[in-house]
Amino acid sequence: MGQLVVETTELTKRYNGFTAVNSLNLKIEEGEMFGFLGANGAGKTTTLLMLLGLTEPTSGTVRVCGMDPTRDARDVKRQVGYLPERVGFYEDLTARQNLQFTANLNHMRRTEAEEKIDAVLGTVGLARVKDQNVGTFSKGMKQRLGIADILVKEPRLAFLDEPTTGIDPNGIDDILKLISGMGKRGITVIFCSHILPQVQRLCSRVGIMSKGNLVADGAIDRLGREVVAAGKFRIEAELEGVGPDVIAAVRGVKGVHEVDAIESTLIIAAESDLRGQISRAIIESGALLLGMKVEEYDLETIFKRYSSEA
């Protein structure tokens, strides 16, 4: 297990009685690419603000790189790059001047900063417009400049808040590539989004927020099973009549976690699509099988369920 760079315990934020983040326990290891999913208003931004010390938690604790972002604000911010939801730049300065200002705030030496700035502007594909005023930039270019703004300070962690909103599909692709590049540089990334496919494409692990609660947290391929504790697939089998024999027979099938009977229908939770084995078991037990239905609990389904609730 790598070193923990983010750790929250029972982290809670209330606004006049409204709980925006509720008893969040989150651990992120160095080098992880963590997808922070949730519908609008789920509490993602509020969590990030608390991790950055830009708002104070109501209760609970935050540790970023082992430090308290409220008390050791400067030391934490030296290690963290933040791309806010609506990032803005000084519109009457050029891309390069904007980054130079960031470099100054990070006490970088001038020559070192200039090389670095040219390099990162190249990385994000803005080398040709680096001496243009940012006021002339499109939303996608500004977002890429925001990523350059993070890269300039060579952070250990990067917090990206909805970096793809309002950008056309090609632009989204560029940004996702850049984020993946951050991961390859060894930067620990928290990628906030409400768009599952983007997160799935980049992240090895996701957390799903819903109404301030972390409702799921884990490796993306295991998450489905964890959320639906009993298994990933839900199979319904309609029978002529249900008896203890047939239930026992289905339970005996390898990979079946749970069997429930509702009137003459069996609700089976299974690890995979076991319709073949289950139907054989039912028939061999002497019952009559009328029909079968299967539903997969993949991340999409789970996420949709939580999103629609919010």
Binding site: L49, R86, T102
Partner: protein, 311 residues
């Protein structure tokens, strides 16, 4: 902090806002001085003391003095430089980026305040220097040592006064999200202090100590004293008193009652020595500094622990 200061300073000095205001101030200053010099020539005998200072304080028949123009423009320019200091950063989405850099949050306010103050300082020194230069050329009398010291003290107190309005404007830029709101709020305070306080103080004084046809000397002084002391709520009054004390040494007192007394008696005291003038305006200066400190502290308290969201 130095990085922010430098950027703000460069922004101000290259901004159209500053250019327009500076030209306006310069123009009105030169105009006022021209009128003043016309007037002085007829008004003072060559033996008068402090002719040079009169360049700053003499008004024409229709046009007010340079001093009046300056006291009018200092608040306006200070407000113009400070009213959107923080909320503009917020609405452009720069504030989130700024406060997530490894800086102390108060250095954002400090740097913005100091940059504004530096610009105001440059402006005040510049205008006073230009006027003084013109004065020497046209009046033909160079200032004596005491006049130079009085002018320097005047420049200093003007910068302090500018600092108050800047601190107030920055406070409003922290308190209000919209730049239009913070500008209107700053201007409203300015109008109240500049025009209304004196009127209201006068009305209250007339109620508390009415002056009728057969008013006694005591009634006059009592009325003047209430009026004067109430007006001191306004930093504009304080600044006016301080500059009078510095630039018009023949005005021997800033105490409203005594002031009435001396003009009632029909005589002005002999010019105050420099040291006494400085002592005279000391309380005014300290009060203006204290008021600035209050605004500054309020900005701090509000800004330091505030949540910074990017919308």
């Amino acid at each position: 902090m130095y990085a922010i200061f430098r950027k703000e300073l460069a922004d101000h000095l290259s901004s159209r806002r500053f250019l327009i205001l500076f030209s306006l101030v310069l123009l009105s200053a030169v105009f006022a001085i021209y009128i003043a010099i016309q007037t002085i020539r007829g008004a003072v005998s060559p033996t008068s003391e402090f002719i040079f200072l009169k360049v700053f304080t003499t008004s024409g028949e229709t046009l007010p003095s340079f001093l009046f123009f300056l006291s009018l423009f200092i608040p306006i320019v200070a407000i113009a430089l400070g009213f959107d200091a923080i909320n503009n950063e917020r609405s452009t989405g720069n504030l989130s980026r700024l406060v997530s850099q490894p800086i102390y949050r108060d250095s954002v306010i400090n740097a913005k305040f100091l940059a504004g103050l530096a610009v105001l300082g440059i402006m005040i020194v510049g205008v006073v220097a230009i006027v003084a230069g013109l004065g020497i050329r046209i009046v033909g009398v160079p200032p004596n040592g005491e006049e130079v010291v009085r002018l320097l003290a005047f420049v200093f107190i003007s910068i302090v006064y500018a600092g108050f309005w800047l601190a107030l404007a920055v406070l409003f830029s922290v308190l209000f999200r919209r730049t239009a709101t913070s500008m209107l709020a700053s201007l409203a305070v300015w109008i109240v202090f500049f025009f209304f306080v004196a009127v209201i103080a006068g009305a209250i004084a007339d109620i508390a100590a009415p002056i009728d046809a057969g008013a006694t000397f005591e009634q006059f002084t009592r009325n003047a004293s209430i009026h004067g002391n109430l007006s001191r709520i306004s930093p504009a009054t304080l600044y006016g008193e301080a500059t009078t004390g510095l630039l018009s040494p023949e005005v021997g007192t800033l105490n409203p009652a005594q002031f009435v007394m001396s003009s009632y008696a029909g005589r002005m005291a002999n010019p105050l020595p420099l040291q006494d003038s400085l002592l005279l305006v000391w309380p005014q200066m300290v009060t203006i500094i204290a008021l600035s400190a209050v605004c500054f502290a309020a900005s701090y308290i509000r800004f330091m622990r505030e949540e910074i969201r990017s919308f």
